[in-house]
Each structure stands twice: as C-alpha cells, then as structure tokens.
C-alpha cells in the first residue's frame, strides 16, 4: 500500500465512521430535525414543483433561447450611451443571467470591453437577484412583498452602487481605452408581438395556476421559545380547542398551533374579484394553455422548439437537485416555519442574532450573506427557515440582497478582474446598502 496517496481516503473513512459512531439518533432534537427536513422537502415537492417551478423552468428556458442577448448587450458596449447603460445593466440580469455562472464573464466583459466600471458593477449586483427563477420562487415562498422588494431593491441599489464605484474611480476610468467585444449575431425570427404574446401566455399560466384564495382572517401567533417576535397566518380558522388552533392558510397549508401562542385574530375583507378568479382558475389556465399550444405550433419551427425544450431541461437538471438538497439541509438546520418545528439550531439563537429589525441584526444578516455561498435559488429555503425561526423581514431582505450577489469564491474572481482595492470597496458598498435597505423595509412592513 502506498501510504502517501492513500492517507486522504483513510482520513475520510475515519471521519465518516466517527460521524456515524456518534450519530445522535434518539436525541429528540436530532430526530425532530430529521423529520422536519423530510416534511419540508415533501412540502416543496407537493406545493411548489409542479405548478410553480415547472412553468418557471419553461419560461427561463424560453428567455435563454428566444430573447436576443446580443441586442441587450448592444446597450452595454463600449460606444453605449452611459446613462442608458446604467438602466439597462440594472435590469438586464433578468434576461441575461438565468444561470449564475454567466454573471461573472459578462461582468468582466462589460468592465473591460464595454460601458465600464459603473455599469459593470450595477450588472454584477443586480444580476443574480433579479433573474426570473429567483423572483418567482421568492414571491411564492416568502411572500409577494419580499419578492417585489428584492427585485426593486436590487435594481435601485445596483444603480447607486454602480454610480458610486464610477465616482470613486473616475480618474482611472477616463484613462482606460475600451476595446470592442465579439458579440453573437442577433437573429430575428419573428415579430416582437408574437414573442411578447408567447411569453405573456406562459407568465399567465404561471400566475393563474398559483392563484391563491383570499383569506378571511389573519391570526397572529407568538413565535419561538421566549416569544421575542410574532408571525401572522392569513386564512380560515377551521378548528379551535383549548389546546390547539388549526388554520388553513391562503396557500392551502394547514397549521396546527398551541392555543397558548395565539395572540389574536383580525377579520379581513373578502375580495370578490379574487375569489371568482380563484373559482375559475383552472378554466383560465386551460384556455391559456390552448392558446399557447396553438402559438407554438403555428409560429415556431422544430429546431427552435427542440432548443427551447433542451434549455428548459438544462435548467431543471441543474437547479432542481441543488434546490431540493438545499431545502433538506435548511429543514434539518432550521426546521419549518412556526413554533414546535425546530431544527438542529435552536430558534432562540436565531431570534437573538437576527430577530427584530435592529442595525446589528441587519448588518449581521448582510455580512453573513455576503460571504456565504448559495447555490442557485437555495437562498430561498434558507431564508424561509431563518424567518420561521424568528428572523425579521428586514434582515431577511438584507440577506437576500447581499447573499446571491456575493460569495467568497465570487469575490476571488472579482478580485482577479478588477484588483483588491476595488473589490474591497465594492463588497463594503454592498454590505452597507443591503443593511440600509433591510432596515427601511423592516421598518415599513
């Protein structure tokens, strides 16, 4: 045996063995954490994969195939109008960067060969946060407010950060001579309105298939051991006994909670339009689907459709395993939302660290988010778990804004592109901005 080459394997086997040897099976906290993670994965699989993620993958696939990326990049080239470049850079992430691995080359390209440091950093910041899949999943799981706040916050602050970077380094920028980049050639296959209708019907299917019933009351519960914060469930109370309260929320999930935690209920106005759309949602979806199939059959040729399905399958293959694994880990560590659903990490710790909306909680969330690496979309179940354990809405947004945009590995790549000084300035700006946005959001909602 060659000990020199084999010792790593030996070490690994020993580590795995020790982990199993001391596996805390039977300890209540460990056992319930395993149960929580299984429950959470099942909930994602049942409630989010078929109606939400599958249509979202088709939309993302269509964007990557049918939206001409070259025509967007035109606005970020060396000769581009500078004011326009900031605007385009801050929103184009939704079209260009469905896969996080394309953000960094594009950033380097805009910096070196295109519109310069300002638009490049604007793109770098907003890109990962406003890709379609991230927005859809955030809005669906964490609530519409957070989804919109994430997209709007990312766009607004990317422009501010880009402008600040440009101002700080304006002398250097003026001296730099940009070279022209090689671009893919734009292909125009069909008029814009046809593409527009095609996308609109897909988005329509996604929206109506997930149409939620409006709740008629909101129940407010104390959250977490220590009762440091509260959370609300919107829906209908189906059962109320001395010990427990059972609420069916607007997404159809049943929450059974100890009656002692119930702080109060308030009635909500029933929205009639909302209710009737809910009643007819399947008819609407079917009609849209029929229109969609007709359009696909008439306007698209075979090669395009194969490419579209291929891209969709590519996203599904790349993202689903990572996401479900991320959900599993988040469930194990943090449990499901609600009291009595704790994971391995006690909710009191999280409540103490990032509960409420203090400056410290927001700063901690954004610094942690900036250094941590999130695989595509896994930031959503992690933030869900943290919020369920008592994280405030402000720190949650701070984490969502600083998290996917930055990680230790991406910092190293960014550093190799623009040097240590600029990277430190950029990271600092992101952390400060995320903290401030988190505080403003937390104070509002």
């Amino acid at each position: 045996m060659d000990f020199k080459s084999e010792w790593k394997k030996l070490l690994l086997i020993a580590a795995v063995f020790l982990a199993f040897f001391y596996l805390p099976v039977g300890k209540p906290r460990f056992d319930s954490a395993v149960m929580e993670s299984l429950q959470l994965v099942r909930w994602y699989a049942r409630e989010h994969v078929l109606l939400c993620l599958v249509p979202a993958f088709f939309i993302a696939g269509a964007i990557s195939v049918f939206v001409s990326q070259a025509s967007v990049m035109k606005y970020l080239g060396a000769k581009a109008n500078k004011v326009l470049a900031y605007g385009v850079a801050s929103v184009s992430g939704s079209v260009l960067a469905v896969c996080s691995c394309t953000v960094l080359p594009l950033f380097a390209g805009i910096y070196r060969m295109g519109a310069g440091l300002g638009p490049a950093t604007a793109f770098l910041y907003s890109g990962p946060a406003i890709n379609v899949l991230a927005i859809i999943l955030t809005a669906r799981i964490l609530g519409v407010e957070l989804g919109i706040a994430r997209a709007v916050g990312a766009v607004a602050f990317s422009i501010i950060i880009g402008l600040l970077m440009h101002l700080i380094y304006r002398k250097e920028e003026a001296a730099k001579a940009a070279s022209q980049a090689a671009m893919p050639e734009p292909v125009a296959a069909r008029p814009l309105w046809k593409n527009g209708l095609y996308f609109a019907s897909m988005v329509g299917i996604l929206v109506f298939a997930n149409w939620a019933r409006s709740g008629d009351m909101r129940a407010i519960f104390l959250c977490c051991p220590g009762g440091l914060s509260t959370y609300a469930v919107e829906g209908r109370i189906v059962q109320k006994t001395e010990q427990t309260v059972t609420v069916v929320d607007t997404k159809g999930n049943t929450h059974t909670l100890p009656a002692a935690l119930l702080q109060g209920t308030e009635n909500l106005q029933k929205n009639n339009a909302n209710e009737s759309i809910y009643k007819f949602r399947w008819a609407i979806v079917l009609a849209l689907l029929a229109v969609f199939v007709y359009m696909v059959g008439r306007w698209f040729n075979r090669a395009e459709l194969t490419e579209w399905v291929g891209a969709t399958w590519g996203f599904a293959k790349q993202i689903l395993p990572l996401l479900l694994f991320g959900v599993f880990i988040a469930g194990f560590l943090l449990g499901r939302p609600g009291a009595d659903h704790e994971g391995v990490i006690p909710a009191t710790w999280i409540n103490k660290a990032v509960g409420g909306n203090s400056l410290r909680a927001n700063l901690l969330a954004s610094v942690a988010g900036a250094f941590m690496y999130f695989a595509t979309l896994t930031e959503v179940p992690i933030v869900q778990g943290l919020m369920g354990s008592g994280m405030g809405k402000g720190p949650a947004l701070a984490l969502l804004l600083a998290g996917p945009a930055l990680s230790l590995p991406s910092m190293l790549v960014i550093r190799s592109v623009m040097g240590t000084g600029k990277t430190v300035v950029y990271v600092t700006l992101v952390v400060i901005m995320a903290t401030i946005t988190g505080m403003i959001f937390g104070a509002w909602f």
Partner: protein, 77 residues
C-alpha cells in the same frame, strides 16, 4: 493540426460545447488539439463576454451558445 479552444468558466453549457466540438472534430477525422480556457482574464483576451465560446486556431467562431455538432463541423472545415 487545428487548435480548438473552449472558453468558459466551467458551467454545464461549456461541457456540452466541448462534447459537441469533440464529436464534430472526430466525425471530420481531422487532427486537433482541444484546450479548455477557464481563467476569466484569458477569456477576456479573446474579446468574448458571453460564455461558452469556441475559438478555432485563435479565431472566435461561436459566442454565447452551444451549436450542434453539425454546425460546428462547418466551422472546422
């Protein structure tokens, strides 16, 4: 002897492009040397900002998409 360079930071699409290029070159029966360029600064030197990309003998042929082996054959011929 053709020099084929696959430009990309290592995402699934880059691997797919490498596979397709390999298949195309084998089908043509040409002698070739395929290199993966993963360093972002090296990629920038080609003037490419959308990965994956394919360069044949230093000339960038495809940017930002994965063509089929059939299409790549035409670029290699």
């Amino acid at each position: 002897m053709k020099k084929l360079q696959i430009l990309g930071t290592g995402c699934p699409k880059c691997k797919k492009l490498a596979e397709n290029t390999d298949a195309a070159a084998k089908a043509l029966g040409i002698e070739y040397d395929m290199v993966k360029v993963t360093d972002i600064n090296e990629i920038m030197k080609f003037g490419v900002m959308m990965t994956p990309a394919l360069a044949v003998d230093g000339q960038v042929k495809v940017v930002g998409k994965v063509p089929s082996p059939e299409e790549i054959k035409k670029m290699l011929a």
